[in-house]
Symmetry: C2
Subunit: 193 residues, 2 copies
């Protein structure tokens, strides 16, 4: 049975999900169950490559065979995701993931600079890092709560559930004075003169 | 030439984008340029239906023919999006869109209730509505700024740009005392006893 929300906390699984082709496969499977040859055609990669990635995703419990169809003498397997939405928490991870989270933030700083913003890099990076850590930990808490109550949410669309998680995370931030202080500081630092 | 970010303000275009099949088409074209028959296979709709939707999306300036290929005697058109990311602002729209924005928020309240939260509906709805209005207006301002500076951002991925827009929106909210007050109120109202 397909779950709506699944919280991923295993650092190894998170790293595996972050690889480009696998991210694209997971994205495509959001819309529809697909065969290896369909994925291979859309992504412009060989079926062998797709097969290799699908095997990794299967081992990690992220995708599974949903149904099979006969096409002539061949059995075609249709793959799908084990949950509609995967939440990952980079901040529960190991050193490597913390490093990754920080280096992703650095790319954001480059975008800000390209747009003409000026700031103290280290200061901004620290504020963003701490805000993200708070956000991730609240989102993890809420999505765990939602995983438990799947049954009560089965009539709602994934989009509604994702937005509800966002709002509940915002509400948690609104009760966290330190988070509000960080938000104020972000506003002070990340602006045009 | 494909833009990275496009801000959509025309209420008619927004309404047209919100229809289910057209949303799915726009989603799929995010990953790759596709033909009508590919879209029809993945979405499980007739090519006639897809054609009809593609025409609407073309007229609205959201998709265009990117290239053609000969397949036997047939010319196959590959469609793609005119921008990688479309930002819509429901709050710049007409009465119908304001109504839609509010009714979408009501669905979120139903999710909160299903999760066991209790609150004054009208009060929560007003706070969420005002927060969203602020968020949309800041996002619109920032994405307009980004549309102008496309050239400076061409090395960055769409994901990086989207996240940068999110952060810049957060920074604007952090400078807006009324927004911070709304966030605090959200935290007070949307919680479990």
């Amino acid at each position: 049975m397909k779950k709506k929300v699944k919280l991923i906390t295993d650092p190894e699984v998170i790293k595996l999900m972050l690889e480009d082709t696998r991210r694209q496969i997971l994205k495509l499977l959001r819309n529809k169950e697909m065969t290896i040859s369909q994925l291979s055609e859309i992504l412009g990669k060989t079926p062998q490559t797709i097969y290799h990635h699908i095997e990794k995703l299967k081992e990690a419990g992220l995708v599974e065979v949903k149904r099979t169809e006969m096409k002539g003498n061949l059995v075609e397997k249709y793959y799908g995701r084990t949950a509609d939405v995967f939440y990952i928490n980079l901040y529960l991870g190991d050193e490597e993931l913390r490093y990754l989270a920080r280096s992703r933030l650095k790319t954001k700083l480059d975008v800000f600079k390209a747009l003409g913003y000026e700031f103290d890099e280290e200061e901004l990076l620290n504020i963003m890092d701490r805000l993200l850590e708070k956000e991730h930990s609240y989102t993890a808490k809420i999505s765990a709560e939602i995983e438990e109550k799947e049954e009560a949410l089965k009539e709602f669309s994934n989009e509604d559930i994702i937005h509800a998680i966002d709002w509940l995370t915002m509400a948690e931030l609104g009760r966290d004075e330190e988070a509000i202080e960080l938000l104020r500081k972000l506003g002070e630092i990340l602006k045009k003169e």
